[in-house]
């Protein structure tokens, strides 16, 4: 479609070249440049914006994998501290996601425990940083949720700021990047 438009414009430019003096043609070029540069700038901004978002997303994916790996062997190593130590699940995730602005709260970081179910795993309980303790689902206990044979899932939700005003006006100041990884609870 763009190419066809371009062919039409060739014809138009040729006619204009016959009818208008060079000064008019340079004005036309300026208008064309103004129109096309908007498109090019939009593409460039989009590429940069998406590139940054993907980089953050990949870092988040790595962070949840490290957190899940740690939780596999330390299923009750929790911390509700804003700067959790590295021997806790939260500490492993936050240090791996350094620079992304994740905070240790129930909105940004979820530590969820499931038991096998059919077809999907069944939520058994979760650690709540706001409550500072494990919160079992109805009918479950912390002991039963953390026993071998279940699984632990680390999920993060990171509101990431968009850099260009154009995208901010269209999609809001932030987009919510999410990542999750699960590991088995082993004996």
């Amino acid at each position: 479609m763009i190419f066809i438009l371009g062919v039409r414009q060739v014809g138009l430019s040729f006619i204009l070249a016959l009818r208008f003096p060079p000064s008019a043609r340079s004005g036309q070029a300026l208008v064309e440049f103004a129109l096309t540069s908007v498109l090019l700038a939009l593409l460039l901004l989009g590429a940069v914006e998406f590139g940054l978002l993907f980089a953050d997303e990949l870092q988040l994916e790595g962070a949840v994998r490290i957190g899940a790996g740690w939780a596999e062997g330390h299923p009750s190593a929790w911390s509700s501290a804003s700067a959790p130590p590295s021997n806790t699940i939260q500490g492993q995730v936050l240090s791996s996601a350094a620079g992304l602005g994740l905070t240790n709260d129930d909105t940004d970081l979820g530590v969820l425990y499931y038991r096998p179910g059919n077809p999907n795993p069944v939520l058994c309980g979760r650690y709540s940083a706001s409550a500072g303790q494990f919160v079992p689902a109805s009918g479950s206990t912390q002991t039963s949720c953390l026993a071998a044979g279940g699984l632990v899932k680390i999920s993060v939700s990171d509101p990431t700021a968009l850099i260009s005003p154009l995208f901010r006006s269209q999609f809001g100041p932030t987009v919510n990047l999410q990542a999750a990884a699960a590991m088995p609870l082993t004996p």
Binding site: A81, S96, P121
Partner: protein
């Protein structure tokens, strides 16, 4: 002009589409690898607990679903010690989990490519037994969980042994294309997992857990009021040994630590563009209550090296000769190294906390690392070359080398 713009725009849009689609495929690859890792471990741990091939396959499927991958995309294969497929649960020596999905594309359909196949393979198994490979260049003391992990394409190399104390089913975990090369790799009764194209050379063996080699090494004692130091944003300068609540090097400032002992109750950080160097320096990472010892698991001093360079070398004489970084055993505050150029000469002894190596230029430590856990981020490269004379020799200098107890 417009025809040219029309043609070039088409090319440009194609490239933008390629960027977005390849980023999306890369994300799917990570998700598939996470699912394969978890599924392989789940199947093997289920079998180790007396499960059947059916229950192991079912548990693997549960983990695949929990990682966002449909069961239909997962294939679990049980292999015996010779690598042949087996149907006997007691003969299983290794489980291979393969995830194969098809990722729809957003822009590439314009070129006739509607989807891209994404696959990941992971193996899980019990390690064999072997002789104790001690002393170690890298000793990990967390005791459980994945205390040595390498994300995609990360590499760790050393000519000396690596020992993980972990007893979990995945003491060492490698994502795809990651590699470990050492003279020997020991895991204390635990196992390991490998992503697609990742390698551990040589194959890990069971190794008795190592104990703290220097339990009698006391915290260094200095007195005074803790100084909170933040550098100017440009220029260069130096500070003297002492007690600090924080050392923060910002902007493009270049800070030199004059020789001696630096006790930190907070962070030692360099931000992008800043540089830190020190020869004949030991850093002790304490807690805010110093000189009182850190309670177990406390968040005390840590290192966050994110500047252009971070170069420290330990003193060659004195009670801490060869010790570059020494952390209170109860201090669980992790450290992160992601500076442009990093060189550490001397032992890093922080058995209660983790160290994370960020993506960046290759990092070389002419030292041994004794940590709770070590994590290498995507693409990180770490080389450990402990030199006998340049590392800490123990409280008794006549010990003649680091003696790690089996």
């Amino acid at each position: 002009m417009l025809p040219l713009v029309a043609i070039l725009s088409t090319v440009l849009i194609g490239f933008v589409g390629l960027v977005i689609d390849s980023g999306s495929v890369s994300q799917s690859q990570q998700q598939a690898q996470a699912a394969a890792d978890a599924a392989a471990l789940a199947a093997f741990s289920n079998l180790s607990s007396g499960g059947t091939l059916s229950s192991a396959t079912g548990f693997a499927g549960t983990l695949a679903v929990a990682n966002g991958i449909p069961i239909s995309a997962l294939t679990v294969t049980f292999l015996d010690a010779s690598g042949a497929v087996t149907a006997s649960p007691t003969a299983v020596a290794e489980v291979a989990a393969r995830v194969a999905i098809s990722r729809p594309t957003y822009f590439l359909p314009a070129l006739g490519i509607d989807s891209v196949p994404v696959s990941a393979l992971a193996h899980a198994g019990a390690v064999g037994t072997g002789p104790a490979p001690a002393p170690c260049a890298l000793c990990l003391f967390s005791g459980s969980g994945t205390d040595l992990s390498l994300l995609v394409s990360a590499s760790l190399s050393t000519g000396s042994p690596i020992i993980s104390d972990s007893t979990s089913a995945r003491g060492i975990g490698l994502a795809s294309r990651a590699s470990i090369t050492a003279s020997a790799v020991g895991i204390a009764g635990g196992g390991y997992s490998l992503g697609s194209g990742s390698t551990i050379t040589p194959t890990p063996v069971v190794q008795a857990a190592v104990a703290d080699p220097w339990p009698s090494l006391a915290a260094p004692q200095i007195s005074g009021t803790a100084v909170n130091y933040t550098s100017p944003s440009s220029g260069s300068g130096s500070i003297n040994p002492g007690l600090y609540s924080q050392i923060s090097v910002v902007g493009t400032f270049s800070l030199n630590l004059t020789p001696g002992l630096y006790v930190l109750t907070g962070s030692l950080s360099t931000t992008a563009g800043a540089a830190l160097s020190g020869t004949g320096v030991s850093v002790y990472l304490a807690c805010p209550g110093y000189p009182t010892a850190c309670p177990s698991g406390a968040a005390g001093g840590g290192i966050a090296a994110g500047g252009s360079s971070f170069n420290l070398s330990a003193p060659s004489t004195g009670s801490l000769a060869g010790m570059a970084i020494f952390a209170d055993r109860g201090n669980a505050q992790g450290s992160v190294i992601s500076a442009g150029t990093t060189a550490i000469g001397g032992t890093w002894y922080a058995i209660g906390s983790s160290l994370q190596i960020g993506t960046g230029t290759p990092i070389q430590f002419d030292a041994n690392l004794l940590l709770a856990s070590l994590h290498l981020n995507r693409g990180a490269q770490l080389a450990l070359n402990p030199s006998g004379a340049g590392q800490y020799q123990g409280p008794s200098a006549s010990a003649g080398g680091v003696a790690l107890l089996p």
